[in-house]
């Protein structure tokens, strides 16, 4: 069973709907106990980095960190991926999980913000999450802050500068874009996550 973590940051229907379409057994939950018993964890989220305070308030933070360190496949989407880094300039007082090095920052002033729409991926070889994703595939973004390109980056996207589109380290995966809204490319990525063992 895949637990989709609900901590009050926006609408999770689309993420659930995409997993339902793929035939995966998913549950949307606010309960740390359910996260603890799940086989896989999905941390979605849109909006402001401070919304992640909802994880602390609900006692979910520990359950997520324990799940990730126990080797459960873990997928952070959008804000959920940003949480995997050390923090964000959007809410400097709030700490991320620190699984990936670096902080999230705003886009350079040379481009409009937010970054909204379909942009292409520069995919690096060897990613389990991006298996069979064509090198220049398009995915759908909507965000105002971006994570740096790091050693764990498996795909980068260009908007003003390069940022991390996808990161991966053993069982922990993150995508800045919205696979649930990225048509066949996005469904392939979610299917790959369902098949990770």
């Amino acid at each position: 069973m895949i637990a989709i973590v609900d901590y009050g940051a926006g609408n999770l229907n689309s993420v659930k709907k995409a997993f339902d379409y793929l035939g995966a057994e998913v549950v949307v939950t606010t309960q740390p106990e359910i996260v603890t018993t799940a086989d896989k964890i999905v941390l979605p989220g849109v909006g402001h980095f401070s919304a992640l305070i909802g994880l602390d308030n609900a006692g979910l933070r520990d359950a997520l960190l324990r799940g990730a360190s126990a080797g459960k496949p873990f997928l952070g989407i959008c804000l959920g991926m940003q949480w995997l880094f050390e923090g964000s300039d959007e809410a400097p007082q709030f700490a991320g999980a620190g699984i990936f090095a670096g902080r999230c920052r705003p886009f350079p002033s040379s481009v409009k913000s937010p970054h909204v729409g379909w942009n292409s991926l520069a995919v690096r070889e060897g990613s389990r999450l991006l298996r069979n994703v064509a090198p220049d595939s398009f995915v759908y973004y909507t965000h105002s802050f971006q994570a740096p390109v790091v050693a764990a980056t498996t795909a980068a996207t260009e908007y003003g500068a390069q940022f991390s589109a996808a990161v991966e380290q053993e069982n922990v995966f993150g995508v800045q874009f919205h696979p649930e809204k990225s048509w066949t490319v996005g469904l392939l990525i979610l299917k790959n996550f369902c098949e990770v063992r």
Binding site: S14, K17, V116, W118, S120, Y140, W183
Partner: protein, 253 residues
């Protein structure tokens, strides 16, 4: 590279897709669920569904249409029409929309933008502006284009962005349904004034019109309805032409 979005719009009345010219003379164009799926397959980057009558007795019909349309759609899906308060927005999100579009209600009470954004995020709030050329300027109209507000479109777009809107859907009433080209001057005026994306609407008739609104209008996205429904321009063909003209689009997709 960030691409220019092509958005297919379904104007829905009592569960059916319809399309008018300058907001009147409606023609039937089919089942919204089938239309949305067909446009997605053809390469539409997003679907917008507008409930153009939005009377309370038809509200449940609309939510049912939203729910059935959303079920098999894995591209961004915006729903507008008849959203007057936060609870209306909640019902539409619950039915499966990714974003909502608000128009008259936002003009009446701009704090509604912030209320919905606080709950669902700015990226989920599209402020739709219907504008018409009046005395050398662009005036905002509400209530499906029936009521002039005396407000300037550029100033209203700026205010909406400051209130927390994530995108502006800007319709030229003068061009709506005429297929005579987008109002590039209107689009550019607003696109240069706000940092959030501007979706141009009203007047799409050919690939040339899209090229013009992306280049001289500086639109981030362009929306069309009638040309796609009646098969005058297939989205796949349109994207091929834009790609050939070096406009960045999601193609092939």
């Amino acid at each position: 590279m960030l691409t220019k979005r092509i958005i297919a719009c379904l104007d829905v009345d009592d569960g059916r897709v319809v399309k008018g010219v300058q907001f009147v003379n409606l023609r039937d164009a089919g089942d919204p669920v089938k239309c949305a799926a067909a446009h997605a397959r053809d390469g539409a980057d997003e679907i917008v569904l507008l409930d153009i009558t939005a009377t309370s007795d038809k509200r449940q019909t609309m939510l049912d249409v939203v729910s059935r349309t959303a079920r098999g759609l894995f591209i961004p899906f915006t729903v507008g029409g008849g959203i007057r308060e936060l609870s209306d927005a909640e019902a539409v999100f619950e039915a499966g929309a990714d974003k909502i579009a608000i128009n008259s209600a936002a003009v009446k009470d701009p704090t509604l933008i912030g209320k919905i954004a606080a709950r669902f995020g700015s990226q989920a709030v599209v402020v739709a502006i219907d504008a018409r050329r009046v005395n050398g300027g662009f005036e905002v109209f509400v209530a499906g284009g029936r009521i002039p507000t005396g407000r300037d479109a550029l100033l209203w777009a700026r205010e909406a962005a400051a209130c927390g809107a994530g995108e502006i859907l800007l319709t030229s009433m003068d061009r709506d349904g005429t297929q005579s080209g987008f109002d590039c001057e209107l689009v550019q005026t607003v696109a240069d004034a706000v940092s959030i994306p501007v979706i141009a609407s009203g007047g799409a008739g050919s690939a040339r019109d899209f090229i013009d609104v992306f280049r001289s209008g500086r639109a981030d996205a362009a929306l069309a309805a009638s040309i796609f429904h009646f098969g005058i321009e297939n989205i796949a063909q349109l994207k091929r032409e834009l790609h050939a003209a070096n406009v960045p689009v999601r193609w092939p997709c």
